[in-house]
Symmetry: C2
Subunit: 197 residues, 2 copies
C-alpha cells in the first residue's frame, strides 16, 4: 500500500486531515466523511491506503502521545527549564494541533483500554526525564520527592495548556515560566518578567 509517489502524498494529506479533525472537533466527530472531505479524497482512496478508520486515527494518536516527549537532544544534560520550554514550544509551535489532541488523551485513556497503556508509558518516561533533571540540579534530592515534584509540574503544565487552548489571549509562556521548577521553589507571579528565563 502506497507504493507510488501520489499514494504517499495522499496518505500524508489524509493524516493531516485526521490531525485537524481530531484537534478541532474531537474523536467523536472524526467520521470517515469528515476526514476524507477535509483531505479532498474519496472513500476508496482512503481504504486503499489505510486498513480502517481506526488505523488512521490510531496513527495520529500515537503521534500525539510521542510528540510531547521528543527524542532527548541532550538527554544527560537538559535542565528542568529546558523541558518546560520544550513543552511550551510543543503547545504553541508548529505542533499546536498535535498538542490539542494530546490534551484529549487523558480522557480517552479512561474509556479506551488499548490507548491507556501507551499513554501511561509515555507519562512515566516524561516523569522520569523531569525527575532526572531535578536531581541533576540538586544531587541531594531524594528520588521520591523528585518524582512527586515532577508529577506536580507535569499536572500543572497540562492545566496551563488546557487554559491556553481555551483562551487565545492566555500567556502560556509567562505562566509556565512562573512555575516552581524544583521542590521548595516558590510559584511566582506570572505578571512579572514576560519572557524571562
Amino acid at each position: 500500500m502506497a507504493r507510488y509517489r501520489v499514494g504517499i502524498e495522499t496518505r500524508e494529506r489524509i493524516l493531516d486531515a485526521t490531525r485537524q479533525v481530531l484537534g478541532d472537533q474531537g474523536l467523536e466527530s472524526a467520521t470517515l466523511k469528515a476526514i476524507t472531505d477535509r483531505a479532498g479524497v474519496g472513500a476508496g482512496s482512503f481504504y486503499n491506503l489505510f486498513e480502517s478508520k481506526e488505523a488512521a486515527i490510531w496513527e495520529v494518536l500515537a503521534e500525539a502521545i510521542t510528540a510531547v516527549d521528543p527524542d532527548p537532544d541532550g538527554h544527560g544534560s537538559e535542565t528542568v527549564d529546558d523541558l518546560v520550554t520544550a513543552f511550551v514550544a510543543f503547545v504553541t509551535g508548529e505542533t499546536a494541533t498535535l498538542a490539542r489532541i494530546h490534551l484529549q488523551l487523558a480522557g480517552m485513556a479512561l474509556t479506551a483500554p488499548d490507548v491507556a497503556a501507551p499513554i501511561a508509558r509515555s507519562h512515566a518516561r516524561r516523569v522520569d526525564r523531569f525527575q532526572a533533571a531535578m536531581r541533576r540540579h540538586d544531587p541531594e534530592l531524594d528520588q521520591a520527592t523528585a518524582v512527586a515534584h515532577a508529577e506536580l509540574l507535569l499536572g500543572a503544565l497540562t492545566g496551563l495548556a488546557i487554559r491556553n487552548a481555551m483562551d487565545p489571549d492566555f500567556d502560556l509562556a509567562a505562566h509556565a515560566a512562573a512555575l516552581p521548577r524544583h521542590p521548595g521553589d516558590r510559584a511566582s507571579s506570572p505578571l512579572a518578567g514576560r519572557t524571562g528565563s
Copy 2:
C-alpha cells in the same frame, strides 16, 4: 413531563445509566441504546422524559462540572487541606463515577464550545476557593502568587486523579497528602505517613 412517581423514578434510572455509560465507556459510546439498555427502559420511555439524548447527557455533564466543587460548607474558614481532602473524597467516594466523567471534561471543552464556558467558570471558582484558603493561611501572600499556586495544585490533583482512575492500586490519598499546600512548601515523598493529615 414526569408527573407520576413511576415517571420520576424512571427518569432517575435513566440518569444513573447515563452516568455509568459516560463514566465507563465515554461520550463516544453513549448511544441511546447503551443508555436505555442499561436503564432497562424502552426508547419511547426515554423520549417521554427527555427532550433528546443530548439533554440527558448534558444534565449529567452539568452535574459532573458542579459536583467537584460542592457548596461551601465553611466557605470562609476552609483550609487548603480541607479542599484537597474533599477532592480525594470526590474521586474515591460515592461520586467516583461522576469523577471519572469530570476527568473527561477537559478534553470535551476543547472541542465542544458550549461545554467549555461552564467548565471555565467552574475552574475559575475553584481556583478562587483554593487561592482564598492559601491567603487565609498566610495573609502576607500576594494574590497573583496564590492564584498561580492554586492552578499548580489543581493541575497536580487532576493528574493524580487520572493516574488513580487508570491504576486501581494507586494510593491517591497518600500522593495528594504529599502535595505542597502553599507556595514554597516542599513536595514530600508519598511513601511517608499513609493517611497523615
